[in-house]
Amino acid sequence: MQSQTQMATTPEHDARVEQKVQKLREIYADAPELGRVALEKGLPDLKRELAAATGTQNAGRIGARQGKVSELTGIIPFAEGGAKRLRGLLEALEGNFRGGDAVGTLHDMRFVFLDNDTKLLFATAYDGDWDAYIDDFVTKIPNSMDLIFCNLEGWPGIHSPSAKDFIAGNQIAAEAWYVASPNLTVAETRRLERVGKAVDEFLDKIA
């Protein structure tokens, strides 16, 4: 991640970067030698990144957000037989999830089975706050939600008032969250794809 952002050069800012570097040297004091060497050798690049750091925002109740894109990560124990059922469902869907298109906010979804099929790691990048639209899931896609989530321990059902609490309760906030285009929502990306295509057609015509 070579940051091209121009470094701020106020004395206060420089002092803050130096402070961070000092802190990192302390933390890395007990690192293997190659780690300590990497810190010193990579210092010019690292300082640029430290100077450009802007922090993350919150995504609704829990999770990190950059611009308009949020992350949701959860590790949730499977219900009895849940791993087998969910794997079967995902296989039937051929490892894809085009149904996610309908939601309109999902950049990606990842299903990883952990610890001998006892837990699910679920990770997704999505636009905005998920809890703003949870009620829409209840009335529009209740079956899809229950079909997936019934395989997880403690899922109260999408119609239960505690469904939101279940999701938030199993969420683990990411320590860091990098998004290349924090202002590009899924809707905006699709619009830009259409605009790009139209521009190319136009240029083809006048060329």
Binding site: K68, A102, V103, G104, T105, D127, G128, D129, A132, Y133, D135, D136, F137, V138, T139, K140, I141, P142, H159, P161, T185, V186, A187, E188, R190, R191
Partner: protein
């Protein structure tokens, strides 16, 4: 009461009402009359016993929704804030049974509502946002004389009570043609409530489950929302989001003049911002020129969908009414439009709209609207509307654009008008309605009011 008579009274449904009309407050279902006159009174309860005694005296004058579709004598509506419930001495376990956002209050929820910058609670008028407003009483009537009479009744109940004080009184209504402070006929499109005894008006859509608007009934998901406890307190009650807006009439007129060189161009732009002409006629039914006959006819002025306007060439995607009720518009996000609707009672205050007001001083003439947004989940719905449909454009594929009428505009904001052969993007749009106050109220049933007034709790 032409608006009631000309519209819903002719639409009585054959099946009997399934909502307990004798219990719910009239304002939940009864539209404002035309013309309309009224006053909002905000009160503080300094002493629980006095507060309860005040409620006891007020209750006989609070109208139920029985026969709400008929013309009525003037009526009173009563709401109580969380601070008000505390001041009335409502038991702790009952207080804790109210939703978190209601307990915190509208000012404390500013971050969730996007009430920042100009709209930040620190810029609000007195007495809003400080937990001082405990009880809100609104008097509605169809004549100035009746307004005075019902207000007199309300005042008699306060007088002689040292334990209840009036913080603010705000008269509303009495605009020529019932136009709002930006010069439009408003309040036309309201959600139809299932089981309320009246069939939907043309274009109103299918009736929405009563539980979306009144506690104790199944909502759109099939289950009732959690209610405040005990049952008698919550059932047949609802919540009201009270929001006071100041209209910046000078800024609005300057914007129209900067972007329209003739009266016709300016009025078309004004219509594009709202989705309706000032007469109320929707662009979908009157795309090129106003048709006031459609605007004033409740059987016609809402009778449309967007099936023939999928590209927004008539009503822009970003216009106010298409945002607030997208109807059949294809949205970018999975959305159930029917669970984000809200009943609103808009009440215009201050001098009428002046098309020639252009100065910055005109922006500060006290003039605007106080809205009562009514829903069984008003706090969640208003937060959703503010975040998603008002202060964002993503759901309609409009990027960062915001609602041109009630949105909080950022610098260099734009408004896109789809057009052949290429869209027009209008620059220089400002915040035309600034938030100057807000409170959440619980609007109890008539039995709940009696329960609250009962000193034995």
């Amino acid at each position: 009461m032409s608006s009631v008579k000309g519209s819903v009274e002719n639409n009585r449904s054959t099946p009997a009402p399934t909502v307990d009309l004798d219990e719910i407050q009239a304002t939940i279902l009864r539209p404002r009359p035309a013309p309309y006159f009224g006053t909002h009174v905000l009160l503080r309860v300094n002493d629980a016993q006095a507060g309860r005694a005040f409620l006891r005296r007020l209750i006989p004058h609070v109208d139920s929704a029985a026969g709400w579709w008929s013309a009525a004598t003037p009526w009173l509506a009563v709401g109580i804030s969380y601070a008000g419930l505390e001041a009335l001495g409502v038991p702790q376990d009952s207080l804790q049974s109210f939703p978190e956002a209601f307990r915190e209050g509208m000012a404390a929820r500013a971050r969730h509502l996007g009430d920042e910058g100009r709209n930040d609670p620190k810029n609000w008028d007195q007495p809003y946002g400080k937990s001082d407003v405990h009880i809100g009483v609104s008097a509605f009537s169809d004549s100035e004389e009746d307004r005075r009479r019902i207000l007199g009744i309300a005042r008699e109940q306060v007088e002689g009570f040292s334990g209840v004080s009036v913080l603010a009184m705000q008269d509303f209504g009495a605009q020529p043609g019932d136009l709002n402070s930006l010069g439009y006929k408003d309040g036309i499109d309201q959600p139809a409530v299932e089981g309320s005894g009246v069939d939907p008006l043309p274009g109103q859509g299918r009736p929405i489950k009563a539980g979306e608007f009144i506690l104790g009934y199944p909502g759109e998901s099939g289950v009732p929302l959690p209610m405040p406890q005990p049952d008698i307190l919550g059932r047949n009650g609802t919540y009201v989001g009270f929001r006071k807006y100041q209209s910046r009439v000078g800024a609005f007129n300057r914007f129209l003049r900067a972007n329209g060189s003739t009266e016709e161009e300016r009025e078309l732009l004004a219509a594009k911002l709202v989705g309706r002409w000032r007469s109320g006629a929707p662009l979908t039914l009157a795309p090129d020129v106003d048709n006031p006959a459609v605007g004033t006819d409740p059987q016609r002025n809402n009778d449309f969908d967007y099936s023939n306007d999928a590209r927004g060439r008539q009503a822009p995607f970003g216009c106010h009414i298409r945002r607030m009720n997208p109807r059949d518009t294809k949205l970018t996000r999975l959305t159930d439009v029917n669970i984000h609707r809200i009943i609103r009672r808009g009440t215009t205050y201050g001098p009428p709209y002046d098309p020639n007001a252009l100065s910055e001083a005109d922006d500060e003439v006290p003039r605007g609207a106080i809205f009562l947004f009514i829903s069984a989940k008003a706090m969640a719905t208003i937060e959703f509307l503010q975040q998603e449909w008002i202060n964002d454009g993503n759901f309609i594929g409009a990027g960062n654009e915001r609602d041109p009428i009630v949105g909080l505009q950022e610098k260099e904001a734009t408004f896109t008008i789809p057009k052949e052969p290429v869209r027009r993007r209008v620059h220089g749009i400002e915040t035309f309605n600034v938030l100057r106050g807000g409170e959440y109220f619980f609007m109890p049933s008539l039995s709940a009011l009696k329960w609250l007034a009962d000193a034995e709790n």
